[in-house]
Amino acid sequence: MSGTTPGGWLLVFTLALPAGGMLAAFALGGRAAERIALAALGLGVLLAGAVAARVQAAGAPLAYLVGGRAPPLGIRLQADGIAAAMLLTASVVLLAVALFGRAAHATPPGVAEARAPFAFWTFLLALSAALAAALLGADLFNLFVALEMLTFAALSLACLDGRASQFRSELRYLFFALIGSALYLLGTALLYGAYGTLDIGLLAAHARADAPTLLAAALMTAGLLARMALFPLHLWLPPAHAGAPPAASALLSGLVVKAAFVLLLRVWVWVLPPAPAGAAAPLLAGLGAAAILVGSLVALRQERLKLLVAYSTVAQIGYLFLMLPLVLAGDAEAARRAWLGGVLQAASHAFAKAAMFLSAGLIAGAVGHDRVAALCGAGRAVPMAVIAFGLAGLSLVGIPPSGGFTAKWLLLTAAIGTGQWWWAAVILGGGLLTGGYVYRVLAGSLTVPPATAPQPEPQAPGPARVALALALVSVALGLLPFAAFGLVQIGRPGALAGAGP
């Protein structure tokens, strides 16, 4: 267990900046909240970039001992490859959503503080702080607090409109998240009882395959799955993500779910011994496969645009779980590919889904409803949003050169390399179904309205540009040079530091 590494202070600021910003925004309120949020989130992108660059340059994780106290008694912050990559993803998406939200949540000078803008900007900062804590934490209980913060912020963003349907679906989410965090905490208690430490690095060195450890892992896994809405625990996700305002949906689907996933990987790849993890991984991947097929099929049949996109999230989450049996199969090359594929899927889905929800919101706003069957004319009213939706769709389907394609290709070759061809079939079948529902939306939007249709009102181009930029990022991820992908392998158990994909 190493101490604070050079550059470790970056981690402190990554966490302290949004947390302090949130406190300041809360105290000052009104117009100041918007300014603080934009400044802090902008700086957050720079900090996340700096963290990623330092990790990449050093070829080893960054670490910081909080208070100068080493674990087991102290708490450690750590940025390994996956944390750095997801942090960068999160900071970019957060900034994009903030820019998107400026149109709807601006507070002009001299206007009294209103509820929705104040809550939006403050929660945005809170979400940023919670994500930083969840990605950088190396202590299981500290991560629990981060998860709870994440729940509070996500839930409040999702009921920003104050509709009864939102309260109902967020209450469902809250209950499921609370069960999830209770189960997670239960596992934490068992692990502390068994090892006397909660530091992931120390646990990784000592974990045994005895009953308390395995039960702890099972409980923590189930708890995190409930928070990730893996099929069949997805009851809360479609109404919650579909009912939320577009900016909130983008964050919920794009980022919040991914933070729980990183935690799940911490438990499975770091803490749990390989043998039991390998034995249970097919179950998770099987559920992931079911999520892909069922989620995509249901999305294909949805009549509401936002529900369609939300079910697409249910499906795309499934892909993340396919990496587990491949990473744990014991083949170093396949593990490397699957790991990269999984992380890339998480990142490219974050960008693509955020773009999709933002553009779905714009499309629904332009045509005045969100019935998929009657989107005719949207292509003329908000062409940029429709293009963004299409590009994001390319990434979800897995069409080259998008990030989603590279992710699925890596998972595919890893599946074939380890002889687990059935996952390959799922990946490909899911792509076909995804293509189906993306096509439904695009075909509807691009239908030329009859000449008698009223001319669409011109929309401000700013929000659509944000959505388009996010979609372009999700596509461009597939064009990154392979060297950049080495980042996500850094700090993975069993991976050589700095090795390529």
Binding site: Y64, L65, G67, F118, A119, A146, S156
Partner: protein, 313 residues
């Protein structure tokens, strides 16, 4: 030995009985009352486990604050009985749930029994090194010295929760006064309590927060007692919650976490790092931060109990 076994067994059985009653009680009010009994018995269990700080926190937060919230809720959540009974799962579902939950509980009990002996843990280390931060109470030393990040996040989460509750208000109520209005009680037991208890409670709460660094106590417990005193006065109609737009309220809410964060950042320049206390003036700095934290915890708990704004300021 036998007596202590008997006592522990009795407490455990009572805790379980109260919990079962909470689930099975015929009316919602009875269930909440059952839950309060459960909380009090749990406090006893904590004392038996030698965790005085936790017992105090459980009593102040788990029983008092949660109890007020639940009682207020049960009064306001009237009706809807048909929808509830329509949504009740079928007999088979309930049986399956019982079976599965029981199986999980059984596995858990077995796992607890299978925990390694001697127990690994940080008891000795925490005890030995409690003096490093200048705090005699090991729990306070852990909370302030070693797991400061938890505490910082927790205090931020509390602010966040307050805002989350506020943000559920209808748009036109933004900036207004939270919670229902209680008629002023001129006589009766509540009025008496509300007049007699708060002065005592404020002293006790402050003392508990103050003494926390050396003896059982702490900011959370002290802050919770302060909040409970305010809540009593509120329910008795003696005080009104402040408008949420008020600057002092917001400053009180963020004072604790902000002070903690700033002191932590100062530690990067003056001490070993973030959230480390500079040895030269650790003691006064800690006291300052603890005072701010007590204020913020008290304000946050009280405002969480009060709920979203419901009236114009």
């Amino acid at each position: 030995m036998t007596a202590s076994w008997l006592l522990d067994g009795l407490v455990a059985a009572l805790v379980l009985g109260a919990a079962a009653w909470t689930l099975a009680a015929p009316t919602a009010v009875a269930a909440v009352v059952g839950f309060l009994g459960f909380g009090l018995l749990l406090t006893l269990a904590w004392l038996r486990l030698g965790a005085a700080e936790v017992a105090m926190a459980e009593a102040a937060i788990g029983v008092a604050a949660t109890g007020v919230i639940l009682l207020l809720a049960v009064v306001r959540l009237r009706g809807g009985a048909e929808t509830v009974s329509a949504a009740m799962p079928g007999r088979g579902m309930v049986a399956a749930a019982g079976l599965l939950a029981g199986a999980v509980g059984l596995a858990l009990a077995l796992a607890v029994l299978a925990l390694p002996d001697p127990a690994p843990g940080l008891a000795a280390e925490a005890l030995a090194r409690r003096g490093e931060a200048g705090l005699g109470n090991p729990v306070a030393a852990v909370l302030t010295g070693y797991r400061g990040l938890d505490r910082l996040l927790e205090s931020v989460a509390l602010v966040l929760a307050v805002l989350a509750v506020w943000s559920m208000a209808p748009d036109r109520r933004w900036g207004g006064i939270p919670g229902p209005r209680f008629p002023r009680q001129e006589d009766g037991p509540l009025a008496l309590l509300a007049r007699l208890l708060p002065p005592v409670g404020i002293v006790v709460g402050t003392y508990i927060a103050w003494v926390g660094s050396e003896a059982p106590g702490g900011t959370v417990q002290g802050g919770a007692i302060l909040a409970a005193m305010w809540g009593l006065a509120w329910v008795a109609g003696i005080v009104q919650p402040p408008a949420i737009a008020s600057r002092p309220v917001r400053l009180a809410l963020v004072a604790g976490p902000a002070a903690f964060l700033l002191a932590g950042l100062a530690g990067m320049a003056l001490a070993e790092g973030f959230l480390a206390w500079p040895p030269a003036f650790a003691r006064p700095l800690i006291l300052l931060v603890e005072a701010a934290m007590t204020l913020s915890v008290a304000a946050a708990l009280a405002l969480l109990v009060a709920g979203p704004p419901e009236r114009a300021a």
